[in-house]
């Protein structure tokens, strides 16, 4: 078995962070604005009609969901868009000729995806927290789920970036897989308000556990135990990472 060689990974990680930081208006500012618009529309229309978990104000409930949704979508976007852009413009060759191992690629791309996800999540948090401050019952769960969820989505973004050959394939992956799974994961509602069939379907959606566990950190209550969520998200992370690492090792669609 080849050793896990990480030489050069720090440079690639820094480059990937710089890449989005240089266009932060688009990569951080825009998703923060989108989340605020969701909050204004849904929060305003539903605030007086819904209470969640019996006592939690709807706007306060919505905020962690929006934060986590932004973390997940942006972590995915960072890894996937960077890879597909490099593939299509051809500058991936600069990486392909280096001695970087597949582990180094993985750590750098997923690491930068986590940073982007957390940066956007923090931005959404800072802007929305004034509308209705959610609690801070168990901060460790917040951090664990944010990092693990962003890592999982970064690894998924890597897979999508390797697989897609055109921008519209990437858009399909994002719009037909990532978007429905995030929207139907309980960002905007507690899954316990759903009829039994859709409750069962939600429980098969790994995104649900990322958001539910993350939310537990704020309110101390959630639809399922955070330990169960951690187990499921952890297993999903390992599985998706395993696939991403194997594709990188083989040079799937990047070394012919």
């Amino acid at each position: 078995m080849s050793a896990i060689r990480l030489a050069g990974a720090r440079t690639l990680f820094r480059k990937e962070v710089l890449r989005f930081w240089k266009v932060a208006f688009q990569t951080i500012g825009a998703p923060v604005l989108t989340a605020v618009l969701y909050l204004l529309v849904f929060g305003h229309t539903l605030a007086n009609h819904v209470k969640v978990y019996g006592q939690v104000d709807y706007v306060a409930f919505l905020i962690p969901g929006l934060v986590m949704m932004s973390v997940l979508q942006n972590a995915f976007a960072n890894a996937s868009s960077s890879l597909i852009q490099s593939k299509i413009t051809g500058n991936l060759v600069f990486l392909l000729v280096t001695p970087l191992s597949h582990w180094a690629w993985f750590v750098a791309y997923v690491g930068a995806a986590i940073v982007r996800g957390l940066a956007v999540g923090l931005g959404v948090m800072i802007v929305t927290v004034w509308f209705a401050p959610p609690g801070l019952e168990a901060p460790w769960w917040i951090l664990i789920f944010a990092v693990l969820g962003a890592g999982l989505m970064g690894a998924l973004g890597l897979i999508a970036g390797l697989w897609a050959e055109k921008f519209d394939q990437m858009a399909a992956f994002q719009n037909f897989i990532v978007m429905p799974l995030t929207f139907l994961s309980g960002v905007f509602y507690s899954v316990h308000s759903l009829p039994p069939l859709w409750l069962a379907v939600s429980h098969a959606n790994p995104f649900f556990y990322m958001i539910d566990g993350f939310r537990h950190g704020f309110f101390g209550v959630s639809d399922v135990s955070p330990w169960i969520s951690l187990g499921i998200v952890g297993v999903a992370f390992v599985a998706v990472s395993g696939v991403a690492l194997e594709l990188l090792r083989r040079g799937y669609k990047i070394r012919h």
Binding site: K15, T89, G90, V93, L95, L96, P99, H256
Partner: protein, 303 residues
């Protein structure tokens, strides 16, 4: 003890589409340390396939490639550290300045704190005043020079240039070749593929010619030229050439070139032209150059 070759190709083959297309067919040759080696061949001969396998951009279907004794698959990290590749395509990362691009590329190889070397590269390649310009602001020729700098920034002992002067103006080409020739004098091995045969003739100590995935000639440049030491007759004419001469002539616009083996044959060709009333001007008699050798080999090589 024999020296370890800078690059060693052993029976390399590459097939595409389940074996239907054979891009390389048992290519074997070594490039010695410190050598300036030319790889020539028409489009589609397999030059880029060979370079891609060497660089790790693609994988051989058979055979092996080693860089300073390191296999490009089993020991890829050591092999790639020893290699500096200037890719054929004019690619760049639009997010970064020239200096950032070079620092990042060095960092991938675990090389840090190389600003002095970066400055030297930039000034040798005429880019000193562009260090902080964004890659997008550079002209095509400048981007090409940055590609060269990127290939050299980790100080590789073996340099591979895949058609580096395509689209580069004459002055720039001179700057580039002076610099590469200097690196070669300092001990770097250089593998060059080019369409400009006069460059290969001027720079390369040895040359291999590829056709349809096979090596059809491999020799010292001087031997390739002297082995076929024919004389070349060049002149301009507005007339159609007589039939007996037209068959051996290469005509480009008004300029005709005809190969002759000795003075008597020159005399006989000129007599034929005179006899046919074919007025000629600007007559030159010279030795065959690499282009003549190239065409002769390509036309006569295995089909």
């Amino acid at each position: 003890m024999p020296q370890i070759p800078a690059i060693s190709f052993q029976n390399v083959s590459k097939t595409y589409r389940g074996g239907q297309v054979r891009a390389l067919d048992g290519v074997s040759f070594d490039i010695e340390p410190g050598e300036f080696f030319g790889l020539l061949g028409p489009n589609g001969a397999g030059k880029t396939s060979l370079i891609s396998i060497l660089a790790g951009l693609s994988r051989a279907s058979g055979g092996s490639v080693k860089v300073l004794g390191h296999d490009v698959v089993d020991d890829y990290a050591a092999a790639r550290k020893a290699l500096g590749i200037v890719p054929q395509e004019l690619v760049f990362d639009p997010f970064f300045s020239v200096r950032e691009t070079l620092r990042i590329q060095a960092g991938y190889f675990g090389v840090h704190g190389v600003d002095d070397w970066i400055d030297e590269l930039l000034s040798s390649l005429g880019l000193a005043d562009k260090a902080n310009a964004n890659m997008r602001q550079l002209s095509g020729g400048m981007k090409r020079r940055v590609l060269v700098a990127q290939a050299l920034v980790h100080r590789p002992p073996v340099i591979v240039l895949d058609e580096p002067t395509a689209g580069v103006d004459v002055e720039l080409r001179q700057t580039l070749w002076q610099f590469i020739a200097r690196l070669n004098r300092e001990g770097h091995a250089v593998l060059l593929t080019t369409h400009y045969l006069e460059e290969a003739e001027a720079l390369c100590g040895r040359i291999a010619m590829l056709k349809q995935g096979r090596i059809v000639a491999l020799d010292r440049t001087s031997s390739l030229l002297s082995g076929r030491a024919s004389t070349m007759l060049r002149f301009k004419t507005d007339h159609a050439l007589p039939e007996s001469v037209a068959g051996q002539a290469r005509v480009t616009g008004r300029i005709a070139q005809i190969k002759a083996h000795d003075a008597a044959e020159v005399e006989s060709i000129l007599a034929t032209l005179r006899g046919a009333g074919c007025a000629i001007e600007d007559l030159e008699i010279g030795r065959a150059d690499l282009e003549d050798v190239f065409l002769e080999i390509m036309n006569g090589a295995v089909q």
